[in-house]
């Protein structure tokens, strides 16, 4: 079973990211589960969502305490204490940032990949919502499923111009990523 924890700030589409990832996996034949941990969230407040992917039905409903992957939608969240708690020793982090991964090496011993997701989103969507770009990069890194699965999941949620722009965005985000860099861990 693969467990992902997605950290974001209210308004960045954190919960939608989790739902979309799970839906994409479902279209590829995975068993999938996604849910948020709600606080009294407001725009800007830290929010967390969880995703589980498995080849068998998923029965547990506890929060993900030991994620294989972290997707962090906002660099500022690294200041929140305990954010990366529980990340497996060989776990990896995908971080929305314009900086190179080296800038974060001191923070955690894990494998970090950065993606300027907000920039890409502004470019393609005109809005700073980084979730779909990050999901696309995540899929490319892990090789879990093709980008097309993400497209299918987005089709269920969006229509018209917003859908087209998101499709373009996920292509662009995926292209900028080293495909399969995390594949070994994903297949473990």
């Amino acid at each position: 079973m693969i467990e992902v924890r997605i950290h974001g700030r209210g308004g960045q589409g954190n919960v939608v990211a989790a739902y979309v990832l799970a839906t994409a996996a479902f279209t590829e034949g995975w068993h999938a589960q996604a849910f948020p941990a709600f606080g009294a969230e407001r725009r800007g407040a830290p929010v967390v969502a969880f995703v589980r992917l498995n080849d068998k039905p998923i029965r547990r409903r506890c929060q993900v305490a030991k994620p294989d992957y972290l997707i962090i939608q906002d660099e500022a969240l690294l200041q929140v204490p305990g954010l990366i708690d529980g990340l497996k020793p060989d776990g990896s982090v995908l971080l929305n940032s314009n900086k190179e991964p080296g800038a974060f090496a001191g923070l955690m011993p894990n494998n970090i990949v950065t993606l300027p997701a907000t920039q890409l989103a502004l470019q393609h969507l005109g809005r700073p919502v980084p979730n779909t770009a990050l999901l696309s990069a995540f899929l490319k890194l892990t090789g879990l499923m093709p980008t097309a699965a993400l497209g299918r999941a987005l089709e269920q949620r969006f229509k018209g111009a917003i859908l087209e722009k998101n499709i373009a965005l996920i292509e662009a985000a995926g292209d900028s990523i080293d495909a399969g860099a995390w594949q070994e861990v994903a297949n473990a």
């Binding site: 799970a22 839906t23 849910f35 709600f38 029965r59 547990r60 409903r61 506890c62």
Partner: protein, 398 residues
């Protein structure tokens, strides 16, 4: 058709399939997505009903009572504070023997204020005279909602379908939504014999003197007991049609040699089931998930507990100043067994506290001494409380 859906969305689509004519809605976390999805279905012409955004839960329950009394199948949903606010109406609906179905998106009760999941709300109205069915996952929520309409309209008792708030309502997972034909085959059109009708006028809700009140309550109580047959039949019929059971009165699973049992209501089952598979070093355990809570399936429970030496009753509520609510009722039911297991009573996950896999081990460790400890909230962290609030060193069972 199997789709990846948020629980709330699945419930909304299921309600649509049941063809209610009147839906009353008042928003309260975590039920909001259910009524919002219904609003969208209505706005897009997919659902043909009177969708009424009322001004409080008290009015929501009152509105559906009026609607059902006037001969329409209806629906509403609420949680927590809303359940309490409408509680007077809930007693009224059940006492008047009006059929309807509502979803309770289980959530903790203020104070302290909490928007998160536990079952204090539905437990608080267990005596209102409704049928209460608890769902262990979103598929059960879908199937139970459909069955609820049949059970309710057959027994003339309202049915509360309890679905853990956030834990189920806001979780996206693969759910099979039956097609309209299947639901139409299962649910006959709404036909309430005692609906108000100018052609056959009756008076509903009259003052009843002591000369007849006990008889009315006797009839109500026995109607609930008799409903056990209908709950079983509905699930059996649904299984034939859909291939799926929604859990009957209760479901028990585990190795035949299990001597320890854990009884729960709702979604916590999933985590315990996964934990049982993980912690293979722990003794064999039977997991019993109660689906029907009212009427209370005493016979079925006794059968399910055969051979157990220990039964852990793990609930998501409590009666402050007493202890476990379900545990007390289980005690009473199992007292009639030739060999009654030791009954261990705990509350867990109050106010939405996350329930980790490790709870399973903790439960086993806690009961391993063979003693039966007094009721406790098993996941409380006393270090968070000042010394004088820890409830230690005081006389108990006074």
């Amino acid at each position: 058709m199997l789709k990846a859906l948020e629980g709330s969305q699945a419930i909304a689509e299921t309600v649509m399939l049941c063809r209610p004519q009147v839906v009353a809605a008042y928003p309260i976390t975590p039920q909001t997505h259910i009524v919002e999805n219904i609003a969208k279905l209505v706005a897009n012409g997919r659902m043909n009903c009177e969708f009424v955004s009322v001004e409080s839960e008290f009015s929501a329950a009152s509105l559906v009572l009026g609607a059902a009394s006037a001969g329409s199948r209806c629906y509403t949903a609420s949680a927590s504070q809303g359940i309490l606010l409408m509680s007077e109406v809930l007693y009224n609906i059940a006492g008047l023997r009006v059929p309807m179905v509502m979803t309770c998106a289980n959530r903790a009760i203020s104070a302290p204020l909490s928007i998160w999941n536990d079952q204090q709300d539905s437990m608080a109205v267990r005596d209102a005279g409704w049928i209460q069915l608890y769902c262990a996952d979103n598929q059960e929520a879908v199937d139970t909602t459909i069955q609820a309409y049949r059970i309710s309209e057959k027994t003339e008792l309202p049915v509360m379908v309890c679905v853990d708030g956030f834990t189920l309502t806001h979780t996206l997972e693969p759910i099979d939504i039956p097609d309209q034909d299947m639901v139409d085959a299962f649910l006959p059109p709404f036909n309430f014999a005692r609906a108000l009708n100018p052609r056959n006028p009756i008076s509903v809700g009259t003052l009843v003197s002591p000369d007849f009140y006990p008889e009315a309550r006797h009839s109500h109580h026995h109607a609930l007991l008799d409903a056990i047959t209908d709950i079983v039949a509905a699930d059996a019929d649904w299984q034939e049609l859909s291939g799926r059971s929604a859990g009957g009165l209760l479901a028990a699973d585990g190795p035949d040699d299990a001597r320890i049992g854990i009884l729960t209501l709702g979604s916590i089952y999933g985590t315990l089931s996964a934990a049982r598979d993980e912690y293979t070093d722990l003794p064999s355990t039977r997991l019993i998930r109660l689906r029907a809570y009212r009427p209370f399936p005493a016979d079925a429970l006794r059968r399910a507990c055969e051979g157990l030496t220990d039964l852990i009753v793990l609930e998501r509520a409590l009666s402050p100043g007493y202890g476990g609510i379900v545990a007390a009722e289980v005690h009473s039911a199992l007292a009639a067994m030739d060999s009654t297991p030791r009954i261990h009573s705990f509350a867990v996950g109050l106010g939405g506290r996350d329930i980790p896999l490790e709870l399973y081990r903790k439960l086993h460790d806690t009961i391993s001494s063979g003693e039966v400890a007094p009721f406790s909230i098993i996941d409380v962290d006393l270090d968070k409380l000042p010394m004088e609030d820890r409830g230690l060193g005081r006389a108990v069972n006074g």
